[in-house]
């Protein structure tokens, strides 16, 4: 029996889109301050898992966050408990400016967050240059930076990031990696959903592989590197 204290424990989680039963018993743990990668091919169920943790789809099973079962809560309640979510579609608010997008990341409680607008603009100077521009006209890379920063403005303690490097130029992928390291330095836990191994193997502490809507591998990046079978069966295309 494992009695270790985790920040987030997902236990036997099932998820549904209407009548279709997508996840059928998924177990995932995240320690405080850890970067955990969740890898898998398209359709493996990774995004559904992130949405299930956020309370954006119907679920059965437990999601324990810092000792409290949050399964079945509304997404805004989960967000207020300190879990941030960066959706895969780069869902910026296109008609609003960059600055307004960032303002919408703030939750507006009394507590002052650990991040300021200035921190965001230091991390991604492009966003400062474009702070009064409509977000809809930004490039794909800039929009990705914006969604990452928008969620940070809500001061999460754990952040779920869905395919942040999808379709980005290598230089921008490195910026995203640097952003993730900065989160780790500030003690934030990260669940990084990716398809490619690239930055996930560089920066994560542990790795889960999802295939066919279940967890098929759990270990360190080094262990995954050593396991050619898993990579061949569940990751390579």
């Amino acid at each position: 029996m494992n009695t270790e204290k985790f920040a987030l424990e997902v236990k036997e989680l099932q998820a549904f889109y209407g009548k279709s039963h997508i996840l059928q018993g998924v177990n995932v743990n995240v320690r405080e301050g850890e970067i955990v990668a969740l890898l898998g091919r398209n359709g493996a169920g990774r995004s559904t898992l992130a949405k299930a943790i956020m309370g954006m789809v119907d679920t059965k099973g437990d999601v324990i966050w810092r000792g409290k079962n949050i399964a079945g809560m509304k997404a805004y309640e989960v967000a207020h408990l300190g879990i941030g979510y960066v959706p895969e579609s780069r869902d910026i608010f296109p008609k609003l400016t960059v600055e307004q997008n960032l303002m919408l990341g703030e939750k507006g409680g009394k507590k002052k967050g650990r991040w300021s607008f200035d921190d965001m603009y230091k991390m991604f100077p492009r966003l400062r240059e474009r702070q009064h521009t409509e977000a809809g006209v930004l490039s794909g890379g800039e929009q990705q930076m914006l969604t990452l920063c928008r969620t940070l403005m809500g001061d999460p303690d754990l952040i779920l990031i869905d395919e942040p490097t999808e379709g980005l130029a290598p230089a921008i992928v490195q910026l995203v990696a640097e952003y993730l390291r900065e989160l780790k330095r500030r003690g934030i836990s990260v669940v990084l959903i990716e398809q490619k191994l690239a930055i996930a193997m560089q920066i994560s502490d542990r790795v889960y592989v999802m295939g066919d809507r279940r967890i098929v591998f759990e270990g360190t990046p080094a262990e995954l590197k050593a396991d050619a079978n898993i990579r061949k069966e569940w990751l390579e295309v």
Binding site: M56, A75, Y76, H80, Y85, D91, K107
Partner: protein
């Protein structure tokens, strides 16, 4: 003069269509009961003003209507939402009948005497032989004040920012920690309050009777389709357009027969289609908005400022 009358009517229509448009963006379906809240505003104002005076009604009636709207959203619409669009549509349709029946039960089937307050019943000014009623001016003032408030709230406040985000991207907005269901209830209640206020100032300018919801409901439906579903700016343009069109048409007794006769044609009762040609513009005024609707749907189905491409 007709211009001012048309603009004041158009602004009244916009108070209704603005709320309906916001609620449409939010629910994704038309709220069939929207004009019923307009009617409730008029009847509440009639009742309150008969107990005290018009000004108390002006204040209280929209608040009552907003409360009812908020309760309806919270306890009926929100529960229906997960079953999809058709049940939502049906439930608002049902509500419009319930309100109609209740209004008739309480206030009867004929119109009630809800007068313009005496302090407002004179004419404001007179040009040639047409007058501009003081009350029409008051209507314009209230409508403009309301709409400026609406604009400032939407564009300049934090809650307005959250509303703008929630209307287009509800899931993302909620995941950022905003209580989107509550935002929707607020938008619904505010839309109802605007409709109720329009009822307070429209009910005595025109007439307060059980048929008022249906007649005005049809017009604002035209307004939001012509303006482009979901577009506030489009709704404003279409409201003014229809307001002006209606007001001008009522005041004109032109007919095709008259026009053709002036062109030197000999039009008599024997001319084919005479019964159509002799119709005066003022007689067809009530159907003009619907003609506009049909023309719009043929020429530009997404409306003046619509962005939907489906």
């Amino acid at each position: 003069m007709s211009v001012l009358n048309g603009v004041s009517y158009g602004l009244l229509l916009f108070m209704l269509s603005a709320g309906l448009t916001l609620i449409f963006s939010m629910m994704g379906v038309l709220n069939f009961a929207h004009a019923s809240f307009y009617m409730l505003g008029a009847y509440f104002a009639y009742q309150v003003s008969s107990w005290s005076n018009f000004w108390v009604g002006l204040l209280i009636a929209p608040i009552l209507v907003a409360l009812l709207g908020g309760l309806f959203e919270r306890y009926v619409l929100r529960k229906t939402h997960k079953f999809g669009h058709v049940p939502e549509l049906l439930v608002t349709f049902g509500l419009s009948f319930v309100i109609l029946e209740i209004v008739q039960l309480i206030w009867g089937r004929t119109s009630v005497d809800y007068p313009v307050p005496p302090s407002m019943s004179g004419s404001l000014f007179k040009v040639f032989d047409s007058t501009f009623q003081m009350y029409r001016g008051f209507m314009m003032l209230v409508a403009i004040l309301m709409l400026v408030c609406l604009f400032l709230i939407l564009k300049k406040t934090r809650i307005g920012l959250v509303i703008q985000a929630a209307l287009t991207h509800p899931d993302t907005t909620e995941a950022l920690g905003h209580n989107v269901p509550r935002v929707f209830a607020i938008v619904f209640a505010a839309g109802c309050a605007l409709a109720g206020l329009a009822g307070v100032i429209g009910g005595n300018a025109f007439i307060t009777e059980p048929g008022m919801a249906q007649s005005v409901g049809a017009i604002i439906f035209v307004v939001i389709v012509v303006g482009g579903m979901g577009s506030l700016a489009g709704a404003l343009v279409a409201s003014l357009l229809i307001g002006l069109m209606q007001t001008f048409a009522v005041g004109l007794d032109w007919s095709f027969a008259g026009g053709l006769a002036r062109l030197g044609m000999d039009i008599t009762a024997e001319t084919p289609g005479y019964s159509l040609l002799k119709l005066k513009l003022s007689q067809v005024a009530p159907i003009l908005p619907f003609l506009l609707l049909v023309v719009m749907l043929v020429v530009r189905p997404k409306g003046i400022m619509g962005t939907r491409d489906d």
